[in-house]
Symmetry: D2
Subunit: 298 residues, 4 copies
């Protein structure tokens, strides 16, 4: 059972996690390329600082190339019985490829989906992991330090083999897209009827207790409206982090209908367009057949 | 069988129809509030100019209040055996209400959905009508003059009782929304891949013959791209005329799933928003839980 | 301020509410057409049992005709200063029409959206009301007895004038459709990947704390899976109670795009079809153009 | 310019194309593993039968493994200046990979999207191709024989480099999904209102001329209804061939919103489910919170 672990990546998320781990009694040696926040000078120093056997290094760096290169380097520094934990947002097939590579050198690999954002330091993080039972067992003190108070199974799951953690987190995020869009559509409809509903913020606040739609996202919506009742200071431009796209791709591969989650994803794409080529085409068609007025491009 | 009819409303559409009717051998007395285009001074003069029995007045004025008031006035001017034809875009329950009112005075009512836009003068108009068989029978020479060349049943239908014509036209327009959006989405995807597909206009033009997607709307799309290959001069703002809304309302009343037509309708609503309150809400939520960057409203 | 009120309708919902009101110190005289559950024999007896001035009768009967007739009868039994509370799921324009009628006799009308279902007796009910400030003020002890523990404004809102309560509840239910469908789609995708995610119930349970998607509906989803891990005993047939339809109708009237909530509504319509005429049409089209195999109707 | 070419794959599609090519004056040597339809015994014999320089072999076999292995074998049989034409439904990145492999041996590669189905023999095929200009030039007599009568550019396009032909065909098919679903939704709504619209087949037939929605797919819809007015003999189960999936995947990669085409794709997925796990989940949720009746699974 792990009592001292390595953590690579001390950005906002990694830094908060280190803090929560330490509060939970886990010794953490952190590495980050920025010397001013790092506990050691190099990744090799990090590995050297950890007690064996079964050293554990948790990787918490941006998905894609950064994660890939850290994991690869760790593969050369770690050995038989050690375990790499990928806590970022990797796409699950990448987990499976990396696990195979590391496994060839006897290094274990556990993928963990981590939910909770900036609130995780205080509330704890929801954790979904995938990997070999023995590796997950080794990590349990770490998971227990990170997860929220309460029954373990309400904030942690060993969802399946390698990849299952990130698959579960991907679906979690897909659902999140749908939930957010549902609240947002309701908000817009309430706000559109401002001659009747004179207190939109108060209405959504009244949903916080007792109603069917109460949730943490609703609480956040109320917070946002408390700070800015008409959201005047916020642009309607919404990014997407990739996991919503993977969710829809995955649904298509498995012939699973996903009308709501896909609609939420497409709404984000639309939100970022300064103009919609498709709607220009519809306007052009209407002009062609009906002589309908079109607005000249401004 | 009618050989001389009245026509109320000589706008772009009414004027073209009068022309096509005359070419087809129907005598038309037209009335419009604008004296410079009208054949008679008042609606009463129009009615007086028509030969009986079974006078026919076709109403071709904007939906809603204008149509309502013309039909009401005709109810006072016409009598037993005469027929009012509503050729605009009335909502079918209005047809049924008006038919009941006129029927109390022995005046017949036929609703006609007219498709074809500015091309109708040359190509003929697609016609869907609803009403009593005897009234429809009376109007056949008019319908034959207006409809396209070719077999009658490929450009005309007596779809059912009063309201069926406008119901059919409403569904026709709902389908039209879906078709246009489908082409538009395809156009956007082709245009997004301009490093690969170097000739978007040419690609859509090549679909005009032999392919599964060939249609009149595709021909118009090609025309539009011929005039403006990147639709640079056209704004992405798209109006909706009401029939798409009725189509979705009607589907909801009848528990008919309408994912495609409703998506096309909502895309038009979105196209007209300068900012989306819903997407502001999603952006606000993301900022709350994740500290995700938002764009300040510009 | 009310200490003794009338309650019409003692079904599952009304009965629970009477119990919670009594626990909260409100005297309740209940009327129901079923003598075995009713406190009085007739609606007139109910009204006679209430102390004046400003008698209060809460109506909790099925929407539509039942509510209409009870409210109408109350209009003849009550008088100046009395208040009818409509706690069912009326469509908000009906509230406005009834309030006008009752108002002509000096009787006030407050519409209240009540959320919480069978859990409300213990947890309290989320309440959204619309009406005149003086009428709402009168009812505050009743609202305080019904609403959940905690700050009043997290379980109660005076959302606006007459109709605003049911409008808010309608939007609440529309959002609810979207939320449920989002979880349901995620569940289906997890279940489809059962070779990877070996514990679907455990995965959703692990979302209960710390994650972004935690909510009361998620808790219920976990409960449902605890009782029946593959939902084997439940049919995929989903009713809709009308408020989702009104939400989409309202959005269309106000040109508000509602892709997610409408998709959730249409999914329910589809769930109830034994066969889909639309998909028969698509199959027929594919057969026509491509000689694609179709399945003969079984 | 080619006058004698090879054709691999003599199924329904390949056989019709050989016939149309021969009618167009192109000599065709066909190969198929079924000796009874093949002109030669082996692929090597086919290549040997073709005159050089710049031999042309058109591949018309099922997408995926069959196409892959034929193209690979042709790579070993053909040489400098020869051209392989992939006329099936390959995914465009595969085209690009194969072109690179063949190109290493001096063999050219042209990908062609072919539309028209069983009607192509008589009507001609819509053709979209991608490849090097010199290779496309070489093939023009072949394309001219296959494409419909009329201006070349209304039935043929050189859309761009290798892959552009199948990309264009993929988008064509995505649009096709949307168009079909739009007509199908309209059909269902007309049929749902059979008390008003008494002639659904006649109504859609009346759209064939003059209307905005006229198209070849509409003609086919009318044909289908002529044969079976209520589509009673056709099951509502609809397959998808892969190109709709690729279209949505591609849109997601390019952040292009595709609400209509994706909805059409998901409707097909749903049509093939004997029960919907998602809707079971929604039913389970409703039962949990409201005690709503559910149907036990049958």
């Amino acid at each position: 059972m792990v009592t001292h672990m390595g953590l690579v990546g001390l950005g906002k998320m990694g830094n908060n996690m280190r803090e929560r781990l330490r509060r939970g009694g886990i010794e953490v040696t952190g590495y980050d390329p920025r010397p001013e926040v790092s506990d050691v000078a190099t990744l090799a120093d990090l590995v050297a600082a950890l007690p064996g056997p079964r050293r554990v290094v948790w990787v918490m760096v941006p998905a894609g190339e950064p994660t890939r290169s850290v994991v690869q380097e760790l593969g050369t520094l770690l050995g038989e019985g050690d375990v790499v934990v990928e806590g970022g947002n990797s796409h699950y097939p990448e987990d499976q490829a990396r696990a195979a590579e590391l496994g060839a050198h006897g290094v274990g690999y556990v993928d963990v989906g981590v939910s909770g954002g900036v609130w995780g330091l205080e509330n704890g993080y929801g954790l979904m992991c995938g990997g070999e039972p023995a590796d997950v067992e080794l990590l349990m003190p770490v998971f227990d330090a990170l997860r929220p108070e309460g029954p373990r199974e309400e904030g942690f799951v060993h969802a399946g083999g390698v990849g299952a953690g990130h698959f579960a987190k991907m679906v979690h995020n897909g659902i999140e897209y749908g939930l957010m869009q549902a609240y947002a559509e309701g908000y817009e409809l309430l706000a559109a009827k401002d001659g009747l509903v004179t207190d939109v913020h108060g209405t959504m606040k009244a949903w916080m207790r007792g109603t069917v739609v109460r949730s943490w996202l609703l609480d956040l919506m109320v917070l946002a409206l408390e700070q800015d009742p008409s959201l005047a200071a916020i642009d309607d431009w919404v990014d997407d982090s990739g996991e919503g796209r993977w969710t829809v791709d995955e649904a298509i591969d498995n012939a699973v209908p996903l009308p709501v989650i896909s609609a939420a994803l497409f709404a984000r794409f639309s939100s970022r367009q300064t103009e919609s080529p498709a709607m220009k085409a519809v306007a052009a068609l209407r002009q062609q057949f009906g002589g309908h007025a079109v607005k000249p491009a401004s």
